[in-house]
């Protein structure tokens, strides 16, 4: 069964360092997302991406964050200068199309845990 894969599974970094989280969405999916989950809290939307552009973003997704699809398979989230409060589980997701996303049919990866010290 196709799945979304994410690397690394866990990254520990010092405050102020740059971090890149990587995702390989399901191959025939066209829409890509990043969500984050602070420990024990709800899953929060960060950004969606389609056709090599950001299509929606939340207020969390400020200038410290950026996304990129550097090649035909990877989708990355970069945090330019990490803060303590960026510590969270970051989930990548993909969907076939907008309608699938609307009805909740997002396929999530297993997440990348980021710990900022």
């Amino acid at each position: 069964e196709p799945e979304v894969t994410q690397t690394p599974s866990h990254q520990v970094t010092q405050m102020g360092q740059e971090v890149i989280l990587r995702c390989v969405p399901i191959s025939n999916h066209l829409y890509f997302y990043w969500y984050r989950q602070i420990l024990g809290q709800k899953v929060e939307f960060l950004v969606s991406f389609y056709n090599n552009e950001i299509s929606e973003k939340s207020e969390i997704f400020d200038d410290q964050f950026s996304v990129e699809r550097p090649d035909g398979s990877n989708f990355t989230l970069k945090i330019r200068s990490t803060k303590l409060e960026d510590s969270a589980m970051y989930f990548c997701a993909s969907s076939e199309d907008m309608v699938a996303a609307k009805t909740g049919e997002l396929f999530f990866g297993e997440g990348s845990r980021l710990t900022v010290l």
């Binding site: 899953v43 929606e56 907008m98 609307k102 909740g104």
Partner: protein, 112 residues
């Protein structure tokens, strides 16, 4: 502000019992409601959705009920099994957006 939230943070049931997980929402513009299951160490997994013009939808062992009058959503799991132990999130898609917004989550613990 408008939000999606859950009444109970933890629900403990015996194997074989039926489980009911509740969710309150406040955004009357939401047109789809979704339930996700998140097992330990994994990402959320889609379970079932319901459109706002429906009040009930059934899947395999799960039923979602929507009461728009009181802005309440529930997920019923029949004959709960240990493999159902997870955190369950309700989510909504508001009109004009295709991004599901998650609520806080309820932990379901199934005792054998």
């Amino acid at each position: 502000g408008e939000s999606v939230g859950l009444h109970l943070p933890t629900l403990s049931v015996q194997e074989g019992d039926n489980s009911i997980i509740n969710c309150a929402y406040s955004n009357s513009a939401s047109d789809y409601f979704i339930w996700y299951k998140q097992e330990s160490g994994k990402g959320p997994q889609f379970i079932i959705d319901i459109r706002s013009n429906m009040d009930k939808r059934q899947g395999q062992r799960v039923t979602v009920l929507l009461n728009k009058t009181v802005k309440h959503l529930s997920l019923q799991i029949a004959a709960t099994q240990p493999g159902d132990s997870a955190v369950y999130f309700c989510a909504e898609s508001a009109g004009g957006s295709y991004i599901p917004t998650f609520g806080r989550g309820t932990s379901l613990i199934v005792h054998p």
